[in-house]
């Protein structure tokens, strides 16, 4: 199966590791993510002002690119890796489904593009793994079970809020935990899993982000997590840099590594995981120490 794939800017810059790992995971699970030949920024934030259409242009162009590639690949799906892109693209798409007149307006404005017909289905990578590939297949493909590795799956907000874009239970999401269990990991239940990491406040109000990170990480540590995994590049960035600051300020005793779910998948599914185990020696140590 081939999926049209939209990386988004972050996956090409600060989130490169996630993309590299996810593309490899797809191969291991026998599907392919085909990057759209041209794409623009997703728009970063979904504008809630109902009459400002210009801010939806970016996302709409990407939906049209997906529509074009979808014809070729015979699918209406578009896969994202970044939670923020997922959120924006899906909200814009739903807005058009609800308001065909707005879709018509934007199509009239974009007179150099083919019309967007409103049929693309936005899926996050995690959703593809869970719904299209399935836990059974993932279980079958496990090469290195993550036995006794205590993993805290951290969702953040962008995959789950608002309710109409969520593909998992909004208050008690389980998809990531189910996948981690399939890999043999011990899943930590962190009540802060759907709390915000502080998101773009990192640019203007770092203290606000540190507050968020402290609450999330302290709970995770009290539950004994070896590692926090997240599907979101911004969460990964905030939780990692936030912990560094908190540690320097003496507000936390140690820093819990925060890695992408895709990286943990590689460690478990690939024969060729030495590079990852070299980077994340603590995982190797834990697996050996606990007889994994």
């Amino acid at each position: 199966m081939e999926y049209p794939y939209y990386p988004g800017c972050t996956l090409k810059t600060t989130g490169k590791k996630d993309e590299e790992a996810a593309l490899e995971v797809a191969k291991l699970l026998e599907f392919e993510l085909k990057e759209l030949p041209t794409w623009t920024c997703c728009g970063v934030v979904y504008n809630l002002t109902s009459d400002v259409m210009a801010d939806h242009l970016s996302a709409t162009r990407t939906l049209i690119r997906a529509q074009e590639m979808g014809r070729e690949l015979k699918t209406n799906k578009l896969v994202t890796l970044c939670s923020m892109c997922y959120n924006v693209l899906k909200q814009v798409n739903l807005m058009y489904k609800k308001n065909p007149d707005k879709l018509n307006n934007i199509n009239l404005f974009m007179d150099t593009e083919e019309d967007y017909l409103g049929n693309v289905e936005i899926m996050h990578f995690l959703e593809v793994l869970y719904k299209d590939i399935g836990l059974e297949k993932i279980k079958e493909k496990v090469k290195t079970p993550l036995t006794n590795l205590k993993v805290d799956p951290y969702y953040g907000c962008m995959l789950l809020r608002p309710k109409n874009i969520a593909f998992d239970d909004q208050d008690a999401p389980h998809v990531m935990g189910d996948i981690l269990s399939a890999l043999g990991a011990k899943v930590i239940e962190n009540p802060m899993t759907v709390e915000c990491c502080g998101a773009h406040q990192i640019i203007t109000n770092k203290e606000a982000v540190l507050d968020c990170v402290q609450r999330i990480v302290k709970t995770s540590q009290s539950k004994g997590a070896d590692v926090i995994v997240t599907p979101c590049p911004l969460c990964q960035y905030n939780l990692t840099t936030g912990q560094k600051s908190l540690f320097e300020k003496g507000k936390i005793n140690h820093q819990t590594p925060v890695i992408y779910l895709s990286e943990l998948l590689i460690i478990s599914l690939s024969d060729n995981n030495e590079n990852y185990l070299k980077d994340y020696k603590f995982i190797k140590d834990k697996l050996e120490e606990r007889g994994g």
Binding site: C9, K12, T38, C41, G43, L57, T112
Partner: protein
Amino acid sequence: MLAEKNQIPLVSVFIMGKEYKVPSGLTLMKAMEYAGYRYTRGAGCRAGFCGACATIYRLKDDYKLKSALACQTTVDDGMYLVQLPFTPANKKKYDMEKLNIAHNALLKEYPEIARCISCNSCTKVCPQELKVMDYVQASLRGDIEKAAILSFDCVQCGLCAFRCPAEITQYHVGQLARRLNGKFVAPKAIHTEEAVAKLNNGVSKKEISKLKILKLAEIKDLYKKRVTE
């Protein structure tokens, strides 16, 4: 008039709102000269390479404002036009020796690229038919090579900056991308370095000193007899 004698049909053009009859088939630039304007600025190569003659025009009964290089487009009956000889856009001063190709290298010099809403106005206005929006987007995500390749044929006319609702100066961003690409990404032109080194070592010194003492007629004669590939 010459054109009337030769029976070339005349068309009406409105230059800054005033009507002139000019022979059909003229370029916008020649039409302006025919109408009596004299270029002291805003005309350079007259061959579509320099970008000095950015022009905004509108066709009869059309609501769209279009753009072109005055030396590359011919007049149409009922055309309204004005030329924009210069774009007073901000151009950052930077020291190439101090720059790098980190993913935010272009964003640092031109942070306004983050305001791009992908409206595509820049692409639509570009007389070189470049994918301007795409190279701005490539710049935004630090793909310097792609930004350099997509903006390669830019003639720096500045029309994109006029149209941009996000106040980006696309053509300067593209220029920086090309400079960074040339310095850090593209393969080095080793043959040029070797040729320069040879010159510095005096490889052509003898021939040049011979030429220096020749008379003009002798040089002309030599030129005519030169061997070309």
